[in-house]
């Protein structure tokens, strides 16, 4: 019993930085989980990745102006991300370029600007920090940012939930009843950018996408309805957060990859055993019903 306590509980009791990281993970799970689920449902699973690259030049500009300052880098990242989302959205609307192609083009442009800025004005250490972050180094300001973004995301998602689902399900119908699909879509893309920016101090831009997507993709394999998938992906993201922190504490691993690898492991396992979409349950069929 004491062994289990030492393993799971005492790291968080003994160390303030672990408690802070735990709170950060909870906030990230609450914000990123639902956003990721909507990305998956809208068949935009790779969009999170694209957007995570798109925020880089903004963060770099923030760094150049104010050094390693979280508000400056976050604001820069947010502005760059929203700019890419807006430009890609406009290009999709007014030309024949499809949305995925348009996003690919603009995020690559943005990424190139970002790498140029970082390599001219920063050191590699800074770049690595932006790309990989560290949840164990989360300070009060970062914690406030992450939890603020999570709260804001949940409120906005609650507001735009119905039209957002309908726009994914049946866009022509939404237009026919006079709903403006574009506005909801744009609001949603802003949430994606916000959550990536929030995740970036804790996990880095690349790892933040992992916490957003992996639990959401896994959720679809386990539960049938949107409501339950939302709960599942938040829960799984948080569990992976706790587990990853403990792994990183006990084995001295970097925390970001530990969290994402745990989520990835769960995904791999689900591919085989998940009742709804997994491979094995589809082979080992339960006996069919009468009607």
């Amino acid at each position: 019993m004491t062994h289990l306590y030492d393993l799971l509980i005492s790291p968080f009791i003994e160390f303030a930085f672990m408690r802070r990281a735990l709170a950060g993970c909870l906030a990230l799970a609450l914000g990123s989980g639902p956003v990721g689920l909507f990305l998956v449902m809208r068949r935009m699973s790779l969009m999170g990745d694209a957007m995570s690259h798109a925020v880089l030049p903004g963060a770099a500009v923030g760094f150049m102006v104010a050094g390693l300052s979280l508000p400056a880098m976050s604001l820069g990242g947010f502005v760059a991300g929203v700019l890419v989302a807006l430009l890609a959205g406009l290009a999709t609307r007014f030309t024949t370029v499809k949305e995925d192609a348009s996003f690919a083009a603009f995020y690559l442009l943005s990424l190139a600007v970002g790498v140029l800025l970082v390599s001219r004005n920063g050191s590699n250490v800074d770049l690595i920090h932006i790309l990989f972050g560290s949840v164990l180094a989360v300070d009060d300001a970062a914690l406030l940012l992450v939890s603020g973004v999570a709260s804001f995301s949940l409120v906005v998602l609650a507001i735009i939930y119905r039209p957002l689902v309908l726009e994914s399900l049946d866009p022509v119908f939404l237009r026919a009843v006079g709903g403006k699909g574009g506005i909801w879509h744009l609001a949603f893309l802003m949430l994606v950018v916000l959550n990536l920016v929030a995740g970036f101090q804790a996990l880095g831009t690349l790892m933040a996408v992992g916490l957003m997507m992996l639990p959401a993709i896994t959720a679809r394999l386990w539960v049938p309805s949107i409501g339950r998938m939302l709960a599942f992906s938040v829960g799984l993201a948080f569990v992976c957060g706790i587990g990853g922190l403990l792994l990183s504490y006990h084995f001295e691993l970097p925390s970001g990859p530990a969290i994402i690898l745990l989520a990835g492991l769960f995904y791999l396992l689900s591919l085989f055993v998940a009742p709804l979409g997994g491979a094995l349950p589809r082979y080992i069929r339960a006996r069919h019903l009468e009607s």
């Binding site: 507001i159 039209p163 399900l169 119908f173 006079g178 949107i226």
Partner: protein, 247 residues
């Protein structure tokens, strides 16, 4: 006063899909839109609901407003992989009542149940839409239209790949809507369905070939003309001068 199209042209990449079409739909009646593939039938419906912008001319909805339209999209436009239940999909028919925030209460639930009953899917409410057959799904979409309770009903190829029994049941719903004084406009591909259930027909082959009582429109001569028009579309067509000549 009824729904009218006035010198309507809608095009894709400058090639008109509907070309200088004018006329009016019979009110409180059922009109079939008939014609070869690529004749602009779906384009016309989409322009009527405002999803496409005309190059010139316009659709005059007459006594109706946009929210008086119930529209049945082609099934391919709906993402059926989403984890949504039959009940929830039908409930979207209440959009004008509920909007973004409104509650679906007991009264609305009863109405949804009633609509599912009318299309013979009362036991299917909690099924995910991904588990339905094409015919069952079409019944669900008709249930949504029942719920919308709209005076103007537009159906885009409602019976594609739908079995005979389902087609018959749904056509009976069309007859019921007509009897209730609703205006029904449907894109169809089957002569017999048109003759049996649609007193009026618009024969469209990018341009209007004929428009009026079904027995006068669906003649061999008209159908041949529609097929010929369809066969004469050019990649390098010259710029159309009809509007300038009219001025």
């Amino acid at each position: 006063m009824s729904v009218r199209v006035e010198n309507l042209t809608v095009s894709y990449l400058r090639h008109p899909a509907v070309h200088h079409a004018s006329g009016s739909f019979a009110e409180a009646e059922a009109t079939a839109i008939f014609g070869p593939n690529g004749a602009g039938k779906s384009t016309l419906l989409k322009t009527m609901i405002g999803a496409l912008k005309p190059d010139s001319g316009h659709v005059n909805l007459g006594p109706f407003k946009r929210k008086d339209i119930a529209y049945l999209p082609q099934q391919s436009e709906i993402d059926r992989t989403l984890p949504v239940s039959v009940h929830d999909l039908v409930a979207t028919g209440l959009w004008h009542q509920t909007g973004v925030f409104g509650k679906v209460g007991r009264k609305q639930r009863a109405k949804i149940q009633e609509a599912l009953q009318a299309v013979g899917l009362v036991d299917f409410a909690e099924r995910p839409i991904s588990a339905l057959s094409t015919g069952q799904f079409q019944r669900v979409l008709f249930a949504r239209i029942l719920l919308q309770d709209a005076p103007l009903i537009l159906l885009d190829e409602p019976f594609n790949a739908v079995d005979a029994k389902t087609t018959y049941d749904l056509l009976e719903l069309v007859r019921r809507w007509r009897d209730e004084g609703r205006t029904v406009i449907a894109v169809l591909h089957d002569y017999e369905q048109v003759r049996a259930y649609f007193p009026y027909t618009l024969l469209l082959a990018r341009e209007i070939v004929a428009w009026g009582k079904t027995e006068l429109v669906l003649t061999d001569l008209n159908l041949r003309r529609a097929a010929e028009t369809a066969a004469h579309w050019h990649e390098r067509a010259p710029v159309c001068r009809v509007d300038e000549e009219a001025v």
